[in-house]
């Protein structure tokens, strides 16, 4: 049975990764299992300089999911390079750094540094809904996405993945901007912009008023978008949004994803990613599939 996939030039032992912002830099979950079991670890969104993040409350629970408005709190790329990267490198897994910035210059500057580090790829975060500048501001037009992607491409030799926001009218068009900008892959979806109101205080629960919705509540939206993007671009796709099981992962792969990411599911059960890998293998056995690559994009539309 083969579960290996080649994603944007990154050889992974299986298609399961963990989503940016739901796994830190791996330390906390390494207390539960060997990170070497994962196809790849995608780091917390990392910026050129440290970021403090948004005012609390930053998270709340919603129906089959949660809202977050962390605001990209992170220690900055220098701290990552000196402290977290050596730790992650101890494990036999691929390391993809989620990169965020507030201007094109910042993205370029950051990716120049990332290009010099011992990492396996960069995921460009053009889709965080919780910061005022950058990110989603670039991520919601074809031109904006193409521009940032192509500028970063000039300084980055490593595999380049661009993470898309679902908060757009036509995600397939945005994905084409990524492809035309020269990226190697797309990942989708980031969280859906959302709000929860405390009806007794008559105020939004999150201090930032709005936040990003994740968890099983968004899975059907994510699957649909992965399918649409798969029809529109030739570059490979990393699918994510509410994956809790191997069956969920297979759904994304049938829709066209080469790899998948576990996000909020990590919070509910530290072993969700490991259980997903096992679940994928069980599905392959059950359906007599020898190679996981034979599942990718094989949905037959009605």
């Amino acid at each position: 049975m083969n579960t290996k996939v080649n994603f944007a030039g990154i050889e992974m032992k299986n298609p399961v990764t963990v989503a940016s912002g739901t796994f830190g830099y791996g330390r906390e979950y390494a207390e539960f299992f060997d990170l070497g079991k994962l196809g790849a670890v995608i780091t917390k969104g990392t910026s050129l300089k440290p970021k403090s993040g948004n005012k609390p409350s930053r998270v709340c629970e919603t129906a089959s999911g949660m809202l977050n408005s962390i605001g990209l709190q992170n220690p900055g790329v220098e701290y990552f390079a000196n402290n977290d990267l050596p730790f992650l490198r101890k494990f036999d897994t691929k390391i993809i750094v989620n990169a965020c910035g507030s201007s094109i210059d910042e993205y370029v500057e950051l990716c120049k540094i990332l290009n010099s580090l011992d990492i396996d790829g960069v995921e460009l975060n053009l889709s965080c809904p919780n910061v005022k500048e950058g990110c989603m501001a670039f991520g919601n037009t074809y031109e904006g996405v193409k521009k940032v992607t192509s500028e970063v491409r000039k300084v980055l030799d490593k595999p380049l993945i661009v993470k898309l926001t679902p908060n757009v009218t036509d995600i397939a068009e945005i994905a084409k901007g990524v492809e035309d900008g020269g990226a190697d892959a797309v990942s989708l979806i980031n969280t859906l912009l959302a709000m929860k109101i405390d009806i007794y205080k008559r105020k939004p629960v999150l201090a930032n008023n709005t936040g990003g919705l994740s968890g099983p509540a968004i899975k059907p939206v994510a699957v649909r978008m992965v399918y649409q993007v798969a029809q529109a671009v030739k570059i490979p796709i990393m699918g994510l949004g509410g994956i809790m099981t191997g069956e969920d992962a297979i759904e994304f792969m049938l829709a066209g994803a080469t790899t998948v990411s576990i996000g909020a599911g990590n919070f509910v059960d530290p072993y969700t990613s490991i259980k997903t890998i096992e679940g994928i293998e069980e599905y392959m056995k059950k359906c007599n599939i020898d190679d996981i690559n034979d599942v990718i994009g094989k949905v037959e539309m009605n």
Binding site: T22, F23, G53, P56, V59
Partner: protein
């Protein structure tokens, strides 16, 4: 190091209306736990309600590997939890939190709690007492219907003062006022507090103004409980100046030095 355990529910008791005490068998968690640590409970194997519930540890029976926690039914998560039956397995991660109650260097301590915030103070009082500390305890409740665990706290403290806001049971008024009264003669080395925010603020202000050591157990909405999602942020006092802008209750806390946080 936190562990995920399927812990068998050994005993359950509704100690006052809608407040339950659970005793579970969880050797792996108990052996590592310190006063102030908390646990995270998954109340269902479905995806609704989605997140784990952070709940403080009430009592550790290290000899028998029994962990006790007490919770109030507030929403659908705690409602589901309250319906668990004896013998059922409960999915628990713990112990969590690196900031725990510390009392080694003190001789005489004051413990103050309010309402459903009093639970983590029991293990603190018990362990401090076992370590020959003098423990005086001040517990405040809304009215007589909310008073709980009086006998239990009596057994692990040198002095117990119970207050009710309306005076319907024992002393009328706020617990902090009784603590202040005793301070003059008792000269406590440290005050430990857990409870509603107004009480914590009052204790913090009093301790800082009078230069008394003080440790506060805080609460904030949590995503993961492990220090990963960075959801449960609490503002730091920014002193020294290069301190980070936020700590996280689940990792740096839940117990903080009163001087270090802005609440």
């Amino acid at each position: 190091m936190p562990k995920q355990v399927l812990a068998k529910l050994e005993k359950k008791e509704e100690i006052i209306k809608d407040v339950y005490k659970f005793s579970v068998k969880a050797n792996e968690i108990v052996e590592d736990s310190k006063p102030g640590n908390f646990i995270e409970i998954r109340v269902t194997d479905q995806v609704e309600p989605f997140l784990r519930r952070p709940i403080s540890i009430y009592n550790l029976d290290k000899e028998n590997g029994i962990l006790e926690f007490i919770f109030q039914v507030k929403g659908k998560g705690t409602e589901l939890l309250s319906r668990k039956e004896i013998g059922e397995k409960i999915d628990i991660i713990g112990p969590l939190g690196h900031g725990t109650f510390k009392f080694d260097k003190f001789k005489k301590i004051a413990v103050i709690g309010g309402g459903i915030g009093i639970f983590p103070l029991y293990e603190l009082s018990k362990e401090a007492k076992e370590n020959q500390k003098k423990v005086n305890c001040y517990l405040g409740f809304r009215n007589k219907d909310f008073v709980m665990l009086e006998k239990e706290f009596e057994n692990v403290t040198d002095k117990l003062v119970i207050t009710t806001d309306d005076g319907s049971y024992k002393n009328k008024g706020f617990a902090i006022d009784y603590l202040k009264e005793d301070m003059e003669k008792e000269k406590y080395d440290c005050i430990y507090a857990c409870g509603p925010l107004p009480m914590l603020k009052a204790v913090q202000k009093y301790a800082i103004e009078n230069n008394i050591e003080c440790q506060l157990s805080l609460e904030e909405k949590m995503g993961c409980g492990l220090g990963v999602c960075l959801g449960c942020a609490v503002k730091t006092a920014r002193s020294p100046k290069d301190a980070p802008e936020y700590f996280h209750v689940c990792k740096g806390g839940p117990v903080f030095n009163a001087r270090d946080v802005e609440i």
